[in-house]
Every structure is written in structure tokens, then in C-alpha cells.
């Protein structure tokens, strides 16, 4: 056995194995953190509030610079005057609406939209700080926009009536037939109307005020665009409604204090 020198002990893990282990560890850690956030029931945690404050600030600045007549996108004098005129017109109409309302209201500026494709929401520049609460109703002079579904200190999120999650009790203004509208991308679907219901294309829909007072009665929703011909097995009509408010071009809105 003379001359035999024992080999040095092999490391438990080779560098590649160790690196792979580190990668898997980081992945698992990040997944666990995400799951913790997902399943922790705390609403409006400090982390979320802090992140919101950081993220919404540039969005507010951007919204103000691009939507205001003095914004960076409209430097020319004629354009500036035209924009100023349009803004003046919009605000006058909003003010007129505000004077007619029985509820107290807050004027807000749209500062952003849902960044993913899963929901139809908008972000407003008014939040808990000025008294906005969940389920307050958002309108424009043309009609109903949606309801507040998330409130932060200086901003709030509004679920538009075109969101798949949104359902509003309505009635046809002409025939007083009642139904429910649900969002479908850019349109609305009028549901639960029997095959014999008195309904015509072009009929105006207004809120019925029947979901526990969430939406006040009489707010304009939209007009019936198309009545699909029923199939033999259908129990209800399928009716497509176009919202009266152009939800893709919202700039200023009113938040109604409905509770």
C-alpha cells in the first residue's frame, strides 16, 4: 500500500448542480411569495398601497400632460385653443349634470385603463382621500359608466359596464320590460327577456334601480343594436346593446355618492 495517496473528497454538488439548485430555490421562493400575496385575505395591504402610490404618480402626471390643453402633445396655438374649447365644453356639460343630480358627486379625471385584457376597468385620480368608496356609481352626461370596485388613497378603479363581471338591472324605456345587461368586450348583452317580450332595435335602456339600490333608477345605459333570431331551443332572446357612453374615450367623469 506504499505510495497510495487518497483522493480528495468529492464536493457534494458540482458547480452546475449548485447553480441549478439556486435557480430552483429562487423560483420556488418567488412562487411562494406570489401565493402568499394571492391567498392572504388582507385587502389594501401597505405593500399594495405603497406600490400604487409609486406607480400611479407617473400615470397621473402623464394623464394631466396629455389630456390637458397645455399638454406636451398640443403645443401649437390653434390646436391649444381648440383643445381648450373642447375641454370647456365637456366641463360645462358635466357641471350641468352635477346641478341636476340629487346625489352628491365628485368630478374625476381618467388617468389610465386596465393594462391586461382580462377586465374592463379605468383608473380615476380621486380616491379615499376625497371620500370615494367602493360601489359608488360613475356616470357622464351621456349615461352610466360603471361602479367603483377598488379604492386607494388618491385613486380608484372603476369596473366598466362592458366588463364581463358587470351586471346591471335595466328596463326598456318605451315598453318598461325588465332585464339584466352583462358586459361583453365592447358591447352589452341584454339577458332574460322572453321570446315574446316587447322589444325593438333602437330601444333605449335605462337602469331599473332594482339591485338593492346600487344603481339609481333612470340612468341611461344604451340602445338595442341587434336582436339575434332565436334558435328553436332558446328560452330567452339574445340582444346586443351598444353603450350610450363611448367608454374608450372617457376623459372626465362624475362619481356619485350613492350610499
Amino acid at each position: 500500500m506504499r505510495g497510495f495517496t487518497p483522493l480528495p473528497p468529492l464536493p457534494l454538488l458540482t458547480p452546475i448542480q449548485s447553480m441549478m439548485k439556486k435557480k430552483v430555490f429562487v423560483l420556488v421562493l418567488l412562487i411562494l411569495i406570489s401565493l402568499f400575496f394571492l391567498f392572504s385575505k388582507r385587502k389594501g395591504s401597505k405593500l399594495e398601497e405603497g406600490l400604487t402610490a409609486v406607480i400611479y404618480l407617473p400615470a397621473r402626471v402623464l394623464a394631466k400632460t396629455t389630456s390637458h390643453p397645455r399638454g406636451i402633445l398640443s403645443q401649437r396655438k390653434e390646436r391649444f385653443l381648440l383643445e381648450l374649447e373642447r375641454e370647456n365644453e365637456r366641463l360645462k356639460r358635466l357641471l350641468k349634470l352635477k346641478e341636476r343630480l340629487t346625489h352628491q358627486s365628485i368630478t374625476a379625471l381618467v388617468i389610465g385603463r386596465e393594462p391586461t385584457n382580462w377586465f374592463n376597468t379605468i383608473l380615476l385620480n380621486k380616491g379615499r382621500g376625497v371620500g370615494v368608496e367602493e360601489n359608488f356609481i360613475v356616470i357622464t352626461p351621456e349615461g352610466l359608466v360603471g361602479r367603483v370596485n377598488k379604492v386607494h388613497r388618491n385613486s380608484s378603479q372603476v369596473l366598466l359596464i362592458t366588463d364581463q363581471e358587470s351586471e346591471v338591472g335595466v328596463l326598456i324605456e318605451r315598453s318598461r320590460v325588465q332585464g339584466v345587461i352583462q358586459g361583453r368586450k365592447r358591447d352589452l348583452i341584454l339577458k332574460y327577456l322572453s321570446l315574446e317580450a316587447d322589444v325593438r332595435e333602437g330601444d333605449l335602456l335605462i337602469t331599473s334601480g332594482l339591485e338593492g339600490g346600487l344603481f339609481p333608477k333612470g340612468l341611461v345605459i344604451g340602445k338595442i343594436r341587434k336582436i339575434e333570431p332565436p334558435h328553436p331551443q332558446d328560452l330567452f332572446l339574445e340582444i346586443i346593446v351598444t353603450p350610450e357612453v363611448n367608454l374608450s374615450r372617457l376623459e372626465e367623469v362624475l362619481i356619485l355618492k350613492t350610499q
Binding site: 452546475i16 447553480m19 441549478m20 439556486k22 435557480k23 429562487v26 423560483l27 418567488l30 412562487i31 411569495i33 406570489s34 401565493l35 402568499f36 400575496f37 394571492l38 395591504s45 405593500l47 399594495e48 406600490l51 400604487t52 406607480i55 407617473p58 400615470a59 402623464l62 394623464a63 396629455t66 388617468i111 389610465g112 385603463r113 386596465e114 393594462p115 391586461t116 385584457n117 382580462w118 377586465f119 376597468t121 383608473l123 370596485n149 377598488k150 378603479q157 369596473l159 364581463q164 363581471e165 361583453r184 368586450k185 365592447r186 374608450s248
Partner: protein, 170 residues
Amino acid sequence: MNKKRVAPLILLFFLFLFLLIFQATSLNRLSILGVKPDLLLILVIFFGLYKGPLSGAWCGFLAGILLDTFSPVPLGTNALSKTILGFLAGVVAPLLYFETPLTQGFLLFIGMLLEGMILFILLSSFHLAPPLSYSLRYIILPASLYTALLTPLLFYTFKKLNLVPPREMG
């Protein structure tokens, strides 16, 4: 703290923030049939492919958390889906050639489909997801296609911004 290590992180944070705000504001004017591309996922997969699984996962987590604060989803939803996608992009990168616009677009198309299914499962568990047929027809497939079409242009831009340091070992 090492400035050389911190500076790219700060740049990355602001790049994600810029893309998020762009996606939530001006990008709406470019939406087709109510659908818009996911610029953040393009950046996450870009990092996964060029910098490896670790960077992909971290970028996915950061992008997801930022997105979650803007969205009505529970905090952590997009963080989870984008972490997985970023990591997977890094894992499959050594097996693929992704320097042509076609392969880049195809990779993002598959990535978007996969993320769409992960989000569908997560949102369903909170009763927030539309039915699967609706999700596929109106959200997942059109968004995947739109994102895939924009991918080569964005990959080119990210490369021009020198966002591609050497890949990690392993």
C-alpha cells in the same frame, strides 16, 4: 453597494414602469377589437431567453407585481404567472434558436397562450374568470396573436437599448 450591479436594476425597474404606464394609457389607442398586446411579457421573455432562468423569474415577478397593483386581480396573480413564464423562457433558451422574427413571434405566441391558461386557472379559483370559451375567443387567442406580431420589433428595440449582457452559465 456596487454601483455597477445596482444601476441596471434601477434601469430595469423604470423600464418596466414605463412599459406598464404606456400599456395602461397610450396603448389603448392601438387596441384591436378591444385587445392589446402584453409588452411586459415580451420584456420578461426577452430577459429569460437572453439572460437565463434566474433573471427571467426575477423580471417576471417584478413585472407581475407592478401589473397586479394596476389591475382588479388579487395581488400576486400576474406575479405568479410571469415568474413561471420568465423562468421557463430561460430553461428552454439553450435548446432553441430564437434570432429570427418568426421564432421570436412564435415563442411569444406560445408564451401568451401558456400565461393565458395559468391566469384563467388562477382567476377561476377566485371566481373572476369568464367562461373558458369566452376567455379563449375574446382574450387569450387574439392577445397572443397581437403580442406575437409585435414581438420582433420589440426584441429589436431591446437589443438596441443594450439590454442583452452575456447569458448566465448553466
